[in-house]
């Protein structure tokens, strides 16, 4: 039972990191990316390669994954600077499909469809993290670190500039804000922090393949952010907990066959998204009425 709970706890932490980082660009910067799973994947693949060929030190893997994801996120920043709204959704969708194809076809780096297996256990300053409980604690610490980083950024002047750009780009630039630099920074920060989730995931599962980083993952993480509430710090966390506990709760419901749990879960969160948009667009946590 304890192993079961720490497993769910770890997965909640990883997904909460993804939801919070997505919310950072979606809720605060108004950049509607549907390519978030890509940067999760880049973090995971970087970690897998670092752990197998270089070192299984967790801090080094985190730093390298963040660097690679941050650098590659410039491909997402490029359309974000030029277009908004539906055009940006389309551009990031294009990036997601392209990235997915690279994940499954670039065999030298990603192991192709089979993925990369046998990733060694993480080591934190010489301490091997093998058991589930210590790994859960490690995930919790990383989640806290990501949350603290996002909270600090949102409260800083940079965070205020972001919200200003979200609400009116021309007004922000009229106030002398460097829109290009601020937007690029927002994308880089969000993507590199999402890679932290990827590092945790690769070490935890010790196996990565393209299945975990598809458009479906983006959909799930987006649902977490929307249901919890965009533009709030706690919202994505609440959304991640709800959507990760949901399949567990469903598997204890007697009249749903095991094979249909995935579908029932999708139907539930799909309906939740529609109903929220109709009656409470700011999500469960957000202030009612105000679009964050």
């Amino acid at each position: 039972m304890a192993a079961y709970l720490t497993n769910i706890g770890t997965l909640i932490c990883i997904n909460a990191i993804l939801a919070m980082t997505l919310n950072f660009i979606l809720g605060y910067a108004g950049i509607f990316s549907v390519a978030h799973a890509l940067f999760f994947g880049i973090g995971a693949y970087t970690t897998a390669n670092v752990a197998l060929h270089l070192t299984h030190s967790f801090p080094i893997a985190v730093v390298l994954s963040m660097a690679v994801a941050g650098l590659l996120s410039l491909t997402l920043a490029l359309p974000a600077l030029r277009v908004r709204g539906e055009y940006f959704v389309a551009a990031s969708l294009g990036l997601q499909v392209l990235g997915q194809t690279l994940f499954s076809e670039w065999k030298a780096v990603t192991g192709g469809m089979g993925g990369i297996t046998g990733i060694p256990a993480a080591s934190v300053f010489g301490l091997e993290v093998v058991d589930r409980l210590p790994f859960f604690l490690l995930s919790l610490v990383m989640l806290a670190a990501v949350a603290a980083a996002i909270a600090a950024i949102v409260r800083s002047s940079f965070g205020r500039s972001l919200k200003a750009i979200r609400d009116s780009e021309s007004a922000a630039s009229a106030f002398g804000k460097d829109v290009t630099a601020i937007k690029t920074m927002a994308v880089v920060v969000s993507s590199s922090l999402a890679a932290v989730g990827g590092t945790l995931y690769a070490f935890y599962i010790s196996f990565v393949n393209v299945e975990s980083f598809t458009f479906d993952t983006t959909v799930l993480v987006t649902a977490m952010v929307i249901i919890g509430g965009t533009g709030t710090l706690v919202g994505p966390l609440v959304g991640a907990v709800i959507l990760m506990v949901l399949p567990v709760a469903l598997s204890y419901t007697p009249f749903i066959p095991q094979t249909e749990i995935g579908s029932v879960q999708q139907i539930l969160y799909g309906c939740a998204m529609v109903l929220l948009m109709l009656y409470r667009p700011s999500g469960l946590v957000g202030a009612p009425g105000g679009r964050a």
Binding site: F32, L78, P79, R82, V83, R84, G85, E86, Y87, F88, V89, A90, A91, L93, G94, L95, V97, L98, T101, L102, S104, E105, F215, V219, T222, A223, I226, E260, G262, S263, V264, Q266, I267, Y269, G270, C271, A272, M273, V274, L276, M277, L278, P281, R291
Partner: protein, 290 residues
């Protein structure tokens, strides 16, 4: 010979893409609603056709009719029960997109539960390929796809230019306020846009069911292609969407001449990505103010 074969396959795929894309483009251009669930319309039309024709073994005409009815009902219901209420209090791009996105998730999951998650195809006498020349195979369906696309575009062109509703729809894409000033109701026009747009997905869905087959995520694929074609062609230009649909179909298939087939979808999206960065107004589009 391989190139010629791929060209033919590309023409067939392109005709189907063009039909799907024009429906989405018509709705998006006239109402400015980002109808992400257009892919669901496509999936519903395809699966209703499959169920009536292949499972219940009813005549072809009945199956196509049922499919059209289902698409029509779904499209107009989306307009009436989702988009209109959402727009009444929170009309932002964000809320409309998420609501539509939510519906598409539900539809995909429901289809998977009811119809199963495996690939299904409807086999008709027209689906069988015949060999035209050494290594060149063509099914009559390919020709039918191209002819259907041309017929539907001709009808659509006639509706948009010659009928009152068509003229009003084109006016709606320019200015809601002016349409209202002329005493027309934008809500009624929006319903017409959804009806026509959803019907255009029907032939494409039926032909897809008979050729490459259906699976529950087919709606996603149809949506992605429609979106790509609408933007590459230029938002607001139906001619652009049709041409771009054809170009994407050809590009996907011709790319497998030099690249592994796994890359065909990625090729479409590289084209889309480059267009968004270098020419967001598309092939035929007017410069967008955004």
């Amino acid at each position: 010979m391989l190139a010629l074969q791929l060209l033919l396959n590309g023409l067939q795929a392109g005709a189907i893409y063009a039909l799907t894309a024009v429906g989405f483009s018509l709705i998006f251009g006239a109402t400015r609603i980002f109808h992400f669930a257009h892919g669901s319309t496509f999936a519903i039309a395809g699966y209703v056709f499959y169920w009536v024709f292949a499972v219940r073994q009813l005549p072809l005409a009945v199956a196509v009719g049922a499919s059209a009815l289902a698409a029509l009902a779904f499209g107009t219901a989306m307009d009436r029960f989702i988009y209109r209420p959402v727009q009444q209090h929170q009309g932002s791009f964000f809320t409309v997109f998420i609501a539509s996105f939510g519906v598409s998730i539900v539809v995909q999951a429901l289809i998977g539960m009811v119809m199963g998650r495996t690939f299904v195809t409807v086999s008709t006498p027209l689906s069988a390929s015949t060999m035209l020349a050494e290594g060149l195979y063509v099914a009559p369906m390919a020709g039918l796809a191209v002819v259907t696309a041309l017929v539907f575009f001709a009808c659509l062109g006639w509706v948009l230019v010659r009928t009152d509703i068509g003229v009003a729809l084109r006016a709606l894409s320019h200015s809601h306020a002016l349409v209202r000033a002329y005493g027309l109701d934008p809500q009624v026009l929006s319903r017409h846009a959804f009806a026509i747009g959803s019907l255009l997905a029907v032939p494409a869905a039926v032909i897809t069911a008979c050729t490459s087959g259906l699976n529950p995520s087919i709606g996603n694929h149809a949506m992605l292609i429609s979106l790509a074609a609408t933007i590459v062609g230029g938002v607001g230009s139906l001619k652009g969407a049709a041409c771009a649909g054809m170009i994407l179909g050809l590009a996907e298939n011709l790319s497998s001449w030099k690249l592994p087939t796994e890359w065909s979808e990625a090729v479409s999206f590289v084209v889309l990505f480059l267009f968004i960065i270098f020419r967001p107004s598309g092939l035929f589009g007017v410069e967008q103010k955004r």
